[in-house]
């Protein structure tokens, strides 16, 4: 518990602590290794000391009685060097060059050993730091043998090399540990970045309020900001929708009043204006209300919807044709779906002057295509026309009616029905708009 309380709450504190711990660990670890290496004497000194010990022990053995030699040998042994006495030799010379060389070095160090019968074995570790285990036996004057066993530590440069290696490994370990801790510290930040990206695309993402205290504050602020934005949008949407509904009553009055205008030309113009305003209001309300449409999904005949719309257009003496299935059921909200198809047919009639509607099936997908012979949409603007309130310059220049919501609403509806909208310029000119929905 106490340790937990010592853990700093703020990001700066946590990072500092981790770095401090890493540096301290590295420092302690490496100094232990380097101190150790300095304690070791060099190889020549070790050999000389072994020679001295051997000669000293020999002197002691020869001067004492034979029956106490085993005990004496044990007595003069120490942690690093073990001495034993035996009547017969334990060692056999193997005549290896390195062993002969070592034998010469011993004799050089102690001239007393020069004319003595000396046997020597040396085994070098294969692993670092490549210490040598030395066994040397000297023949005493009565023919018995004194054996010395010791470890000759490798040259200090090898020790140094091995300790640098260990320090390097230690350092790597510390860096890895620090990286792991920092990675954990920064996870809330990455979550935040991902969430911000998603929020930018219109989703509502709650991020968990955890981690360092200041990161927690950021998460809380971020969630609160989202709630405020959502609240603001809802209020605005509701206000706009309320105004939209309220406008219908004065529009009703206007339309009825238009019926009393004696001049037929003025009356028709007035009625056309009211129609245009009504259409704009309808599309605005459809766009705003799209998210919470209470209409349930049901089995709906897409062919019948297309036929009704084409027939309506034909009755209004506009050039529309239908080809394809007589029936093709999909799972959708019929009123929404009809609005989507209607928007596309209306667009084709309005901008292209004609609408060729066809309904086909591609595997499990129902494809309703509306083609016109109009100017199409410049390729670089194909994606933009789906944005709300976006109107092509050419449409604006001709002062055509509408708010620029038609295709946005279509996309919104299809998204909700699990379908998609595809816009293509036809190679022979004109636009092809496809509604793709899962067929039943």
């Amino acid at each position: 518990m106490k340790l937990l309380r010592l853990w700093p709450q703020r990001l700066v504190g946590q990072v500092t602590l981790v770095l401090m711990l890493a540096v301290a660990l590295e420092f302690i670890g490496s100094s232990i290794l380097f101190e150790n290496s300095r304690l070791y004497p060099n190889r020549d000194n070790q050999i000389r000391r072994a020679a001295e010990q051997l000669v000293a022990a020999e002197t002691i053995m020869e001067s004492g009685p034979a029956n106490e030699r085993v005990a004496e040998a044990a007595m003069i042994s120490n942690r690093a060097t073990e001495l034993t006495w035996s009547p017969l030799p334990h060692l056999v010379d193997r005549n290896r060059p390195a062993e002969n060389q070592l034998k010469d070095r011993l004799r050089e160090a102690e001239p007393a050993l020069r004319d003595r019968d000396l046997r020597l074995n040396a085994d070098t570790d294969h692993a670092l730091p490549r210490d040598t285990y030395l066994k040397a036996a000297v023949r005493l004057r009565d023919g018995s043998w004194l054996t010395l066993k010791t470890k000759i530590r490798a040259a200090p440069w090898a020790v140094l090399l091995s300790s640098v290696g260990s320090a390097f490994i230690l350092g790597l370990g510390v860096i890895a540990a620090a990286a792991l801790v920092l990675h954990n510290l920064s996870r809330p930040l990455r979550t935040l970045a991902e969430a911000a990206d998603k929020v930018g695309q219109g989703a509502h993402v709650r991020i968990s309020e955890s981690g360092a205290r200041d990161l927690k504050l950021v998460a809380e602020a971020f969630n609160a900001m989202q709630d405020r934005i959502a609240g603001l949008l809802t209020t605005r949407t509701e206000a706009l929708a309320a105004v939209g509904h309220d406008l219908r009553t004065p529009l009703s009055r206007l339309r009825l009043r238009a019926g009393f205008v004696k001049d037929p030309e003025a009356r028709e113009a007035l009625e056309a204006d009211v129609d245009e305003m009504t259409a704009m209001l309808d599309s605005l309300l459809a766009y705003l209300g799209g998210q919470e449409d209470p209409e349930p999904q049901r089995r709906t005949d897409l062919a019948a919807i297309a036929m009704t719309l084409v027939d309506d257009a034909t009755d209004a003496e506009r050039q529309a044709t239908y080809a394809g299935f007589d029936h093709l059921p999909v799972h959708a909200r019929p009123v929404s779906l009809k609005r989507a198809v209607s928007n596309i047919v209306e667009n084709a009639l309005h901008y292209g002057g004609d609408a060729a509607v066809s309904l086909t099936r591609e595997g499990r997908t129902a494809v309703l295509a509306v083609e016109d012979n109009g100017p199409g949409i410049p390729d670089n603007e194909l994606a933009e026309v789906l944005q709300p309130f976006h109107r092509l310059d050419s449409a604006r220049a001709r002062n055509t009616a509408g708010l620029g919501l038609g295709l946005t609403i279509v996309q919104q509806i299809l998204h909700r029905e699990g379908g998609s909208l595809v816009l293509k310029n036809r190679p022979q000119g004109g636009l092809r708009v496809e509604i793709r929905l899962p067929a039943l």
């Binding site: 219908r248 009553t249 206007l254 339309r255 009825l256 919807i305 036929m307």
Partner: protein
């Protein structure tokens, strides 16, 4: 001014005074005898002292709304009700029709549309007393299809909602109401024209061919609506009412 004793009286229940006045003037000019009320309580008073042939009922009213009023009227009387609403959405329309309203018009409506609908409903109810035209919301089924006059819905044998235009629906309703009987072209034209005055432009044959296509199920449609040369059409399938 048409003040003949037989002029049908229409009660307007609408809270917007200007719209109320306009509707009064319009109905008077078209030969109706208009009455008006601003809210539910006032409407009840008018109904006590007057004989009313049709009620134009706004949905958004102060106090109890149009739906509540519609429900309470239906408990006592069969007087035709046309609902007027600023919310032109499908759920409102369905609620209105399910509560027993005879029609539902979204604002803003035109003079022509309003008068045509009022005339159609009056004609239907006046004829309804003796004809077999269904009153209320009996579902009708034929050859696997089902037709709901209340919700104005047609469902195909596999249960899919089949979209029909207003004129197509009225024509089908006329056929289904007099099944297995020859109906003359003139009579059909009159029936389908009753709802929308602009139906006069299309010939009845075009409407029938459109209906045939929408009712087409592997060659069955031709026999559902058979042409009787020189006279009209006959709806061949038996109709069941539920």
């Amino acid at each position: 001014m048409a003040t003949a004793p037989l002029a049908p009286s229409v009660l307007i229940v609408e809270d917007d005074p200007a719209l109320r006045t306009l509707l009064m003037r319009l109905l008077r000019e078209e030969g109706f005898q208009p009455l008006s009320a601003g809210h539910g309580a006032e409407m009840a008073r008018v109904l006590e002292t007057n004989k009313v042939d049709l009620i134009l009922l706004d949905v958004m009213l102060p106090g109890s709304n149009g739906f509540d009023i519609c429900r309470s009227i239906r408990r006592e009387s069969d007087v035709p009700i046309v609902m007027l609403s600023a919310r032109d959405d499908e759920t409102d329309r369905l609620i209105g029709l399910e509560l027993g309203a005879d029609d539902y018009i979204g604002k803003p409506f035109s003079k022509k549309e309003l008068i045509a609908r009022i005339r159609a409903i009056l004609r239907r109810t006046q004829a309804g007393a003796q004809s077999s035209q269904p009153r209320g919301h009996q579902q009708m089924t034929f050859a696997g299809w089902s037709l709901d006059p209340g919700r104005r819905e047609l469902l195909s044998p596999d249960g899919a909602f089949v979209d029909l235009s207003g004129a197509e629906f009225d024509l089908l309703l006329a056929f289904v109401s007099s099944p297995q009987r020859v109906i003359g072209r003139e009579r059909l034209l009159e029936m389908s024209r009753a709802r929308f005055s602009d139906a006069s432009d299309r010939s009845i044959d075009v409407l029938v061919s459109r209906l045939r296509r929408k009712l087409a199920v592997t060659g069955q449609a031709e026999s559902l609506l058979r042409t009787v040369r020189g006279v009209g059409y006959i709806f061949t399938a038996p109709v069941e009412r539920r």
